[in-house]
Amino acid sequence: MSTRSVNGSVDALLEIRDLRVEYTRDTGAIRVLDGVSLAIHPGESLGVVGESGAGKTVLVRTILGLLDPPWRVVSGSVGYQGENLLAQPESALRRVRGKEIALTTHEPRKHLNPVATIGDQMARVVQAHRSASRTEARARAIELLRVVGIPDPELRLRAYPHELSGGMCQRVVIAMALAHSPKLLMGDEPTAGLDVTISLQILDLMRDLVRDFHSSLLLVSRDLGVVAHYCQRVAVMYAGQIVEVAEVPAFFAGAIHPYSRRLLRAAVAATSDRRGTLSSVGIRGEGRGASCPYARRCPVWIERCTREEPPLELVASARWVRCFRHAEITAGLEAP
């Protein structure tokens, strides 16, 4: 799958094109997604990384059509099986959510209804997309809990969310997400708030299940190490834009976009000293006009970056970068 493009490949499972999303308020709109294009292929694991506010979560929610006012989709499309999900009515989206595309999030316990038992909630998920009797639904729930490695699933069915640990809750949420063998599983930082050993168990589980179910995985994470280990491709987001898309080995061998390079250096530096960290100047694209959103923080910016917005260019096979100086950087330009 090395030579497929970001845009317009024929066999993409999900194809996002030039997506623009705004958060509207009285004093004007904030552009949160600014021309995002991304394709997810069948069977692949794609990691999306970026700092807080880069638009990762909004991207995931837009795919499922979960944005309510004041959020507004300005333009763009989310192509799935020949249909633009953004143009579908709510009733059609309901048939996609949970059945074709499923989502697991961080804080799993908060995503479970506190006054209903695990069994009831799982049975409802099963019955949401298929006619099943109560007994059938419960049997399926037990089966799913066993798949995600919960011991004594029959007992756990009677438990309430507060009686389970965070890791257990995340397993339950994953079991629910897999109830209808979705073609695409999205994880929005599924391991935030879990300790390291549990995180790895959960990620291993997601990877194995995605493989067994022949699904694709979209993994949103801040942890480059996680992406390196569990994904085949990585997309870096900054200020609502995709600034670099690459295959994982190539990316970790040498990122091209200045932001990606600093991100990588920061991940290494975090274990030694604070060299290579970023100043946290606001990254919002408000009033930026036509310029590179990263120009203000970029160590290698040139005058052109403040006048024009760089396009996302194909710079090598399966490698897309949004920077005017990508050729120089590839040729060996080092940031000061």
Partner: protein, 295 residues
């Protein structure tokens, strides 16, 4: 399973017992509530004389061994009537409060869950709230009086009037809770797996938003008893020979001037203590159900 339920019930009972010791008012209220329920069930059978029986030549007798609370102007035993009255008063209060609770919660969930939305449900939500506003713009008692006057004084009409009156209170309490609950992540999660709006509203949001309405049940019952009596007092409620506290006060009130204080005082005391009891229970329950105070 049974053992689990039993264990949780006994631990809850222990908790309640500990709680009651720290709030004696709650226990007193519970006692009074229990007494009214007991009298509603058995009062008419326990009364020494028939509650509607007039004793010839025994009008306006002061309290004595034969007539603990005296007799009224038409020779009916006040004590017999005071303990027979909860059957009427409590029925009115319970039925009207239950109806108001159901109606208020359903409307509250709809109006809260779809508040600020667009389309038909959003408009329905706004309409419900505006409707409640208009409803509550009228003074409560005048409104009940008008409703009963319009349909004629009878027990059923008092129930209907009180039910209508109490709907907006439950509606607002539930709506407020729903506005809070609908922002919680599990509601989002329900959408993520493909749940429809109405289903999410009633299956996921409602059970998490019932507490304020439940805590309001007991004070509303007390308030309804008061209002039912007030309606009867002005002659718009329960027709006269039926034993009912409000109408008994109405019968006795003119005699207070001529010295027969007992005909109005005792039903008045019973009414006041009952309402106090329900208010104390409601107050206690609100503290009891509040997780912050639950330690």
């Amino acid at each position: 399973m049974t053992a689990r339920v039993l264990r949780s019930v006994t631990s809850e009972a222990r908790h309640l017992a500990r709680f009651s010791r720290s709030r004696p008012g709650f226990l007193v209220g519970l006692g009074m509530v229990a007494l009214t329920i007991f009298l509603a069930a058995f009062g008419p059978h326990l009364s020494p004389y028939g509650p509607e029986e007039t004793l010839p030549g025994a009008a306006n007798l002061p309290p004595s061994v034969e007539h603990w609370m005296g007799t009224d102007i038409s020779g009916m035993d006040v004590f017999s009537r005071v303990i027979a009255a909860p059957r009427i008063d409590l029925t009115i209060a319970l039925v009207s409060t239950a109806a108001a609770f159901v109606g208020g919660v359903v409307l509250g969930v709809i109006s809260g869950f779809f508040a600020g939305g667009r389309g038909i449900w959003g408009r329905l939500s706004a309409t419900i709230v505006r409707g409640a506003d208009i409803f509550q713009a009228f003074p409560v008692f005048i409104f009940a009086l008008a409703l009963v006057g319009f349909r004629g004084p009878s027990i059923q009409n008092v129930i209907v009037a009180l039910a209508f009156l109490n709907v907006p209170f439950f509606l607002r309490l539930t709506r407020g809770a729903v506005l809070h609950v609908r922002e919680r992540p599990f509601v989002d999660a329900a959408r993520c797996v493909g749940g429809s709006g109405l289903r999410i509203a009633f299956v996921h949001v409602m059970p998490n938003a019932l507490t304020p309405a439940l805590a309001n049940l007991s004070p509303t019952i007390g308030f309804s008893i008061l209002l039912a009596s007030a309606l009867s007092f002005v002659g718009a409620g329960v027709p006269i020979p039926t034993p009912e506290w409000g109408s008994m006060i109405a019968i006795g009130a003119p005699n207070m001037m001529t010295g027969q204080w007992w005909t109005a005082l005792f039903p008045g005391l019973a009414l006041g203590l009952t309402i106090l009891g329900y208010a104390l229970v409601g107050d206690g329950l609100r503290y009891y159900l509040d997780p912050v105070n639950r330690r």
